[in-house]
């Protein structure tokens, strides 16, 4: 039963046939992009290391960047977070990033130390 004193946000996501066509086109574009990025990643893994082994650490950095790009498209377009209000985006992303950046920092810092200690006492 619908009440007129509250806003039904669930109903409000409806869109027309016209708008749907545009949204679908966007979805397929993002699909193509994700497929291309994954193919490039696998090709780099299969061939780059054999041909140019000295620049492998650069490729690793590239992998992380490409992964973040893919994640951005999945969250922003497929999960519609890009279409939500800015407040929603911030309360989802900020607490997560705050924890994870700290966790990454502490893990890299401490694993370096542990690595040095194992080497020293081996």
């Amino acid at each position: 039963m619908l009440r007129d004193d509250i806003i039904e946000y669930s109903l409000d996501a409806h869109h027309s046939e016209e708008a749907g066509r545009k949204i679908r086109k966007n979805i397929w574009m993002v699909t193509l992009l994700l497929a291309v990025i994954t193919t490039v990643e696998v090709a780099l893994g299969a061939y780059w290391k054999e041909w140019f082994p000295e620049s492998w650490s650069m490729v690793k950095l590239g992998y992380i960047v490409l992964t973040l790009v893919k994640a951005g498209f999945i969250v922003g377009v497929f999960m519609h977070l890009g279409d939500e209000r800015r407040n929603v985006r911030l309360i989802i992303l900020l607490p997560y990033l705050l924890f994870i950046l700290y966790l990454l920092f502490i893990a890299i810092w401490e694993s370096n130390y542990v690595h040095r200690m194992i080497e020293m006492f081996q």
Partner: protein
């Protein structure tokens, strides 16, 4: 997406009460909160993997050397199988977002079609992962350690895991592994004939074949432990996602959401499903590629 979320409203209206300042329904908000907490769990696992890998002084296996097999085919196809799994999951994510889009137009037939394809894709992914686990556990023949600490790969034509009959086979031979490296052959080593290989085999101090929770033929024991835990935890998420999608599909077919006037349940199940895909993108990079 249209409606309240895109309307420009002043802060007095947004935060003045009587409405959600986020212009989002309760169910979707809670699904997002759950996904954030689940994302923290998966991040914790991947960071722990990075920590162990970075702090260890042992040789650590590399994805394209471990995962290079395809079902029914011989030869080496580095990461092709994992890439196929990734493609399956990404495409089932696409069919899901198309189901959500069809729901926004109240197109019941479209929702059924795309949601059905999503369930099929998810089932294929779970099946692929079962094959990969089985292949990982059975291994490629294993290696022995000799008295001087050198490692030799064991090769036989048919994969025989019984150490008692293994060396009596015609096709049995050994291949020296590069020092400090599990998975690459030592090119400078001279070829061993059958008799020499059997002699080394009989003098072995250790034989590791396949993978279990204690040890594995690919590298340090933590490698297999993280493989089982991370891909297993993710695989269980996919499995529950398939079940959730199946339940939603049945409700869509029964017309429950059409009577309700909106397909938000498809959207919420979709959020979970996309999240599973998102996690796999990170697992693919940090476990298999790096």
């Amino acid at each position: 997406m249209a409606g309240e979320a895109t309307k420009a409203l002043s802060n007095d209206v947004l935060w003045g009460g009587g409405r959600s300042p986020f212009s989002i329904s309760y169910g979707k908000m809670m699904m997002w909160f759950f996904l954030v907490s689940d994302a923290l769990t998966f991040s914790g696992l991947l960071v722990a993997y990075g920590f162990v890998r970075h702090s260890t002084t042992e040789a650590w296996p590399i994805g394209e050397e471990v995962f290079r097999a395809l079902p029914f085919l011989h030869g080496s196809y580095p990461l092709i199988y994992v890439a196929l799994m990734t493609a399956i999951l990404i495409f089932s994510s696409v069919t899901m977002v198309l189901a959500v889009e069809a729901g926004h137009r109240m197109d019941k037939k479209g929702v059924i079609k795309w949601l059905f394809l999503t369930v099929i894709g998810g089932a294929f992914f779970v099946g692929s992962q079962a094959w990969e686990w089985s292949h990982f556990i059975h291994g490629g023949g294993g290696y022995i350690t000799t008295t001087d600490g050198a490692k030799y790969w064991v090769h036989t034509e048919e994969h025989d895991t019984d150490p008692l009959t293994l060396s009596t086979r015609e096709s049995f031979h050994l291949e020296k592994a590069r020092e400090g490296h599990y998975l690459l052959p030592d090119e400078s080593a001279h070829h061993l004939d059958h008799a020499a290989a059997v002699k080394l085999w009989n003098e072995r101090v250790d034989y590791v074949d396949g993978a279990n929770m204690v040890r594995n033929e690919y590298g340090p024991s933590q490698y297999a432990n993280f493989f089982f835990f991370i891909t297993g935890f993710h695989g269980f998420h996919v499995f529950s996602g398939v079940i959730i999608n199946l339940i939603v599909l049945i409700l869509v077919i029964k017309g429950v959401f059409h009577r309700r006037g909106h397909y938000e349940m498809v959207e919420k199940a979709g959020l979970y499903w996309h999240f599973v895909d998102l996690v796999w993108v990170f697992v693919f990079t940090f476990f298999y590629l790096l």
